[in-house]
């Protein structure tokens, strides 16, 4: 398989594409004097199999099998889960292709990477910093054709965490980019291969200190480093408690969860993971930093017998490679991996509180993709996105199904929906500096930006639900992110006039062009940004408000206010 090295920025074509989308959904010819009632479909989101009003207005070419034909609203919701944000063009494309063909196309898209570009810069003698890694990340997230792959990699990066917020990694953007590229390349591969690549990546090695983890030196009271051994179990694979296939804990007769391992297992695995260092090192102590997979040093490997969980024994006398393979095999075949990983991927893509049945269906696919293969992540991703709960969950549980959009997804959704461009070609978005509490590969610790178990005190916690993203939606952060989006909407768009080549600019021209029809304008926003789930009350407030604004500026004031009010509404912030 080849990998795409991103080419120079494509030329501006967003506005045209947006108009094509408008035509396709039946409002390309909205007359300036059209009234404020919706020209298109009902707003309420229901079961995704129902073809709504927008769908009827669309111009599908080939109709795939019925249950594969999403309504426009359903297509938008699907893309909210499966990409860095729906665009009108992609919504229409998904409807025309149907889910299966769209997914197949995504599978075949060439992965967009970032490390090769950084290496080129470094080879040319240019400085390479974390912000450059992030520029590549944003370019791929916003413009990569492999949207699903990028979105799944982003989800995986929040489970298999490394962070630039670490003394050993802050100066290694190239190694970190290689780490992310592993997630991108293997997000549709097999988990067994992924966990091995992750384990041997040098940035992960430095982050969880398996790199230069030496065999015991009892004379100096030195015993192997337990960091990676602990977190690979606790966070990357099986978790702390034995799980049923549906993700609920197995309980002992006293009703308590049963630990998956104890401290002796951590100690044993720490021994198994000894003897790895940067590739091509001339000596153990002075091996030089690079992005290649770590290489083994048999003389620094502990050869004792290791007793790990479930009575599994890693025999003594084996090489670093054989110990590693035995340990990762044991982890891979642990029955927890499917429900543990599956549930978190569901949380990252679809909903914070999946039902046990949903988790079980996904975990079953992890255990067997239907062809006897365990760990097939492509099958898992499809199972997550195509599950009846993903597509019909909101209709069945309108009060609790879904998730809070994380800050990066709120920002990327805006930038993608309105075809953000930047004169320099560099999407420089120093979000931590802006106060966001989220940046690609920049969590506070290996525990990610938020815990999968976080529950905001109050109604949500009292209902026994979790809402992880609320952990970074505090009283201060909620205002910071709202203000950041405000700046982007009002001051960082193409027709603002006070911008320069460094500014990332969204294009509000298409919205302004339909501003004479407030109802149509708001319905377009409801479709693209809210999966067609805008309540009639919200629609009325926004339509009434922008109707009071005149059109002397070509409709931009209406476009800005409508976009701001819709996108910062509680309804739009919750993905459903």
């Amino acid at each position: 398989m080849g990998y795409r090295v991103r080419q120079a920025r494509r030329c501006r074509g967003g506005a045209t594409a947006f108009f094509v989308g408008l035509v396709a959904v039946g409002c390309g010819h909205a007359a300036p004097d059209a009234d404020n009632t919706s020209a298109i479909g009902s707003g309420a989101g229901g079961n995704d199999e129902q073809v709504g009003g927008w769908g009827a207005a669309s111009s599908r070419k080939a109709l795939p099998h019925d249950d594969q034909v999403p309504s426009l609203e359903a297509a938008s919701r699907f893309l909210t889960r499966a990409s860095f944000g729906p665009t009108l063009v992609e919504i229409v494309k998904l409807q025309n292709l149907g889910y299966t063909a769209w997914l197949d196309e995504q599978y075949d898209e060439v992965p967009s990477l970032s490390r090769p570009q950084l290496s080129d810069q470094a080879d040319a003698g240019n400085p390479v910093h974390q912000i450059h890694r992030q520029e590549e990340w944003w370019a791929n997230a916003l413009e990569g054709e492999d949207q699903l792959r990028q979105r799944v990699a982003w989800a995986l990066s929040q489970i298999l965490v490394i962070s630039q917020n670490d003394a050993d990694l802050s100066g290694d953007p190239v190694g970190m980019a290689e780490y992310y590229d592993i997630l991108v390349r293997q997000s549709f591969g097999n988990y067994r291969d992924l966990i091995e690549a992750v384990t041997l990546n040098s940035a992960m090695g430095a982050y969880l200190s398996m790199l230069k983890n030496d065999k015991p030196d009892l004379a100096n009271n030195i015993l192997p480093d337990e960091n990676f051994a602990r977190e690979v179990l606790q966070l990357f694979s099986i978790g702390l408690d034995q799980l049923n296939l549906d993700g609920t804990p197995i309980l002992d007769p006293q009703g308590k969860p049963i630990p998956t391992y104890d401290q002796s297992v951590i100690v044993a695995l720490a021994h198994a993971f000894t003897g790895w260092n940067y590739a091509n090192g001339q000596s153990w102590d002075f091996a030089k930093i690079n992005f290649l997979p770590m290489e083994s040093w048999p003389t620094h490997h502990d050869q004792s017998t290791k007793l790990i969980f479930d009575g599994i024994v890693i025999p003594g006398g084996m090489s670093p490679e054989d110990d590693l393979a035995a340990a990762l095999d044991a982890i891979f075949y642990h029955p927890n991996v499917g429900p543990f990983l599956g549930k978190q991927l569901i949380q990252r893509l679809v909903t914070s509180n999946p039902s046990p049945g949903y988790v079980q269906r996904v975990a079953s696919v992890f255990n067997d993709n239907g062809q006897g293969l365990r760990g097939d992540l492509w099958a898992v991703v499809k199972a997550i996105l195509m599950d009846s709960e993903a597509r019909g969950g909101y209709a069945n549980d309108p009060e609790n199904f879904g998730k809070l959009k994380e800050p990066i997804i709120r920002l990327s959704g805006l930038l993608r929906a309105f075809d953000a461009q930047v004169g320099t070609g560099k999407f420089t978005l120093p979000l931590l500096t802006d106060g966001y509490a989220q940046e690609p590969l920049a969590a506070t610790s290996v525990f990610n930006f938020y815990s999968p178990n976080f529950s905001p005190p109050g109604e949500v916690a009292n209902a026994g639900l979790v809402a992880p993203e609320f952990e970074i939606t505090t009283h201060s952060l909620i205002a910071i992110i709202q203000n950041s989006l405000h700046t982007r909407i009002y001051f960082n768009h193409l027709d603002d006039g006070f911008t320069d080549d460094n500014d990332i600019l969204i294009d509000l021209g298409p919205l302004a062009s339909i501003a004479a029809s407030p109802g149509v304008l708001v319905d377009v926003l409801g479709l693209v940004l809210m999966g067609g789930q805008m309540s009639p009350e919200l629609r009325d407030i926004v339509v009434d408000h922008i109707s009071t604004l005149d059109l002397e500026d070509g409709g931009f004031e209406r476009a800005e206010d409508a976009l701001f009010l819709v996108y910062t509404s509680p309804q739009a912030v919750i993905q459903k």
């Binding site: 003394a167 050993d168 969880l208 230069k212 030496d214 030196d217 100096n220 009271n221 030195i222 015993l223 192997p224 480093d225 337990e226 960091n227 602990r230 702390l240 401290q263 951590i266 100690v267 720490a270 309108p398 009060e399 609790n400 809070l404 106060g435 610790s445 525990f447 815990s451 529950s455 905001p456 005190p457 109050g458 109604e459 949500v460 209902a463 809402a467 609320f470 939606t473 505090t474 009283h475 201060s476 952060l477 909620i478 205002a479 910071i480 709202q482 700046t487 309540s535 009350e537 407030i541 926004v542 009434d544 408000h545 206010d561 009010l565 509680p570 309804q571 912030v573 919750i574 459903k576």
Partner: protein, 452 residues
């Protein structure tokens, strides 16, 4: 000398609290109880928790200095040991026979200790009940669940009662117990400047998250067009939201707006704090924000406040000898500068600041650093603290010794329950409520460790 100062200081403090027949013996329940009752009617009090994220290596913060004890320490720690001649000596009011010193990068802690404004709590950690090594090995006394796991041990530190965590923390439950202490203000008793923390979650009281630079006003509602836009925004916020997450989001947004109005107005009238602080330090900046909030407590109508701040980087698996000096220096300077700011605000005797973490670290090295341990030393500072002394019991630091469960993971000799209860008592949680706030407190012989 220090002992005298300490005694005088203690007497002064006790007299100030209108306690007649107080004894000076640490851990005196009677005294703590009397103080608590006095405080309920008394003036402003604040607790400030400094959370050292990742599991701080307290055994390198306070180190045995006298030769036999240092020898045991150095033998266990090997390359992680601090050189004996670099330790900053302290003279505790109560001697256990050994001498101790602070990490060489902590002269400010040494100074606060000497002036009687800082106490050391030895070897505190999570416990269900006191336990010995043989009880640990036999399982006859229940262990805290999920020992050595970051997030679980952090939760147990913050919740206490390690075996029955229920989604609340002891600061939150203390706020429950003191409901009404701050009158009818909308501002929560519990404020975090380091994101949400289980510690501050109560059953019935809310908490508030403040930015390091203060509260944040929403943009876009000024100018000619602002009011109409704001009105539409507010109408949307006020809609009856169908989804529980929408309601949670709208509530947080509304609180953010309302409390920003309250706090920014109060801070506009705050005195400028002259005391300097390291503006490059996240911890120092957070503590500076706490000082600013304390400076306007009267304006805000606050009688009792609990603040949470934090600093990351203490998970020293790798390069401990490179990273520890800087972080210890940052901690030491930040605590000292905060005390200086409080003195300037005349709040020295109203605020108690204390450190917490996930756990201590292994005494033994992994060749580069240390791994997840258990018990660890912590410090408490402020005017009310019976400073210049070490409280609790110093552990045996020998590998394979009577306190080591393996690799130098040391069984705590005081529990986080006792640590919290001592602080909460001073804060004003009365004897009856204490049993609710700290459900396992009765498992331990002394409910008060005596440093306040």
């Amino acid at each position: 000398m220090n002992r005298k100062i300490d005694r005088r200081k203690a007497l002064r403090y006790l007299a100030g609290a209108s306690v007649g027949a107080a004894t000076l013996s640490p851990g005196s329940l009677a005294r703590a109880s009397a103080l608590s009752k006095g405080s309920r009617l008394g003036g402003y009090r604040a607790l400030v928790c400094v959370y050292l994220q990742g599991g701080n290596d307290g055994f390198n913060l306070v180190v045995p200095l006298s030769t036999p004890e240092y020898g045991v320490y150095a033998n266990s720690r090997q390359q992680l040991a601090i050189a004996q001649d670099q330790l900053l000596p302290i003279t505790p009011a109560t001697s256990d026979g050994a001498q101790y010193g602070f990490h060489p990068n902590c002269p400010e802690l040494q100074s606060l200790f000497a002036s009687g404004d800082l106490a050391v709590l030895a070897n505190v950690g999570t416990l269900v009940a006191p336990m010995t090594l043989s009880e640990y090995n036999s399982g006859s006394v229940p262990k805290p669940p999920r020992l050595f796991s970051h997030v679980d041990q952090m939760f147990q530190w913050q919740a206490t009662a390690a075996d029955r965590i229920d989604g609340t923390g002891w600061a939150g439950r203390s706020a429950d117990a003191l409901a009404g202490a701050n009158g009818s203000t909308d501002l929560a008793l519990n404020i975090s400047i380091n994101g949400p923390t289980l510690w501050q979650v109560g059953q019935n009281t809310k908490n508030y998250d403040l930015g390091t630079n203060g509260s944040i006003a929403l943009a876009g509602f000024g100018g000619l067009d602002g009011p109409a836009r704001k009105s539409a925004f507010q109408q949307i916020l006020d809609l009856p939201h169908a989804h529980s997450f929408e309601r949670q989001y709208a509530l947080t947004m509304q609180e953010s707006i309302d409390l920003d109005a309250l706090i920014s107005a109060a801070l506009a009238g705050a005195p400028t704090i002259q005391a300097g602080y390291d503006t490059t330090s996240s911890l120092a900046a957070q503590l500076h924000m706490v000082a600013r909030m304390i400076s306007v407590q009267a304006t805000l109508g606050m009688t009792r406040q609990i603040f949470f701040v934090g600093l990351g980087g203490f998970d020293y698996h790798n390069d401990q000898n490179r990273d520890q000096p800087g972080l210890n220096a940052e901690l030491s300077r930040s605590l000292f500068d905060f005390q200086t700011a409080l003195a300037e605000l005349n709040m020295t005797n109203s605020v108690v600041t204390f450190t917490t973490s996930d756990f201590g670290r292994t005494l033994s090295s992994n060749g580069k650093g240390s791994d997840h341990g258990w018990g660890s030393h912590h410090v408490i500072t402020g005017g009310p603290v019976l400073g210049g002394d070490i409280f609790g019991k110093m552990p045996n630091l020998a590998l394979g010794g009577p306190d080591d469960v393996g690799r130098g993971r040391i069984i705590p000799t005081s529990s986080v329950d006792q640590y919290g209860a001592t602080l909460a008592s001073w804060f004003g949680v009365d004897q009856t409520a204490l049993a609710t706030v700290f459900p396992n407190l009765a498992n331990f012989a002394s409910p008060n460790l005596g440093f306040l």
